[in-house]
Symmetry: C2
DNA sequence: TTTAATTCGGACTGATTACTCTGCTTTTGT
DNA sequence: ACAAAAGCAGAGTAATCAGTCCGAATTAAA
């Protein structure tokens, strides 16, 4: 089944949302995340490491180590995460995969697709991680 | 790179559009399609066979054999082809892959994504193969 | 009736994605 | 100092997707 984002990207989003939820509880171990999200510990671990490299997530080793958000949830959009994991290919290439299709010689759906694609992008850019937090006020 | 539709689906769309273009030239061989679209003959062949099974494309064997559209291009939408090859997963599942997300307990983007997804679907459903034909009138 | 040109079916191969394993390093509590 | 608990890195494995190959069945023309 073809899906908009890669599995890894979906897990990254879920992981980030989870970290935001537990934001005030300090470091969260990959083990705990994995259990609560029912994902493989090794895989979510690797995925979060990608986000650590990009400065989106903080990590610390050792006995009390784990992961935490590097930015305020209000300053972190879903698109930020998607771009790191999957890149922006989804928002760029021709929907029909037509090799000739581009802004200069667009295919029949190109013009109609553009606004939809842009709206999707905007929505993901405007939706912050904070909006997923259950019932907290602004910042802690 | 993650993309909306599978490669096979993209080829199917390109193949159908090509068949529509050559509609008045009788059967078109997989070999010719492959050459003109710069796709592997074997692969486009297999792909079109899937569409034959669903009654979207006609095929005939033998010396003058080849493929042709089974329906009028005006009666064939892009969505028809997409559904056969990729199914409707893209239009159904949660964008974020959240396991809990559904119409009963939607995630934060679910509500906003719905209209976009529906608009995309509508656009693909309303765009017929005929719209791609260069400069022909209605039906021959 | 033979031959050439085609689709068709199934098995096969290669590439990419998804995930796992193992061992190492770091850090903290005892 | 030591042991336990965590992340990290790289190699390895499994599954799916993309594409190939080959031989059989079909059909039309020579």
């Amino acid at each position: 089944m073809t899906v908009l984002f890669s599995r890894k990207c979906e897990y990254a989003l879920q992981g980030i949302l989870y970290l935001a939820e537990k934001q005030d509880q300090g470091n969260i171990s990959a083990d705990q995340i994995a259990k609560d999200l029912s994902i493989s510990k090794d895989f979510i671990s690797k995925t979060l490491q990608s986000l650590v490299k990009e400065g989106i997530v903080l990590s610390s080793r050792g006995k009390t180590g784990g992961f935490a958000l590097a930015r305020a949830p209000e300053e972190l959009s879903l698109l930020d995460i998607i771009l790191v994991i999957d890149g922006n290919g989804v928002f760029e290439s021709c929907v029909l995969g037509l090799p000739t299709c581009g802004s200069d010689s667009p295919c029949s759906v190109h013009e109609q697709w553009g606004p939809l694609r842009e709206a999707s992008r905007q929505m993901l850019a405007n939706t912050t991680v904070a909006q997923f937090k259950p019932t907290n006020e602004t910042d802690k």
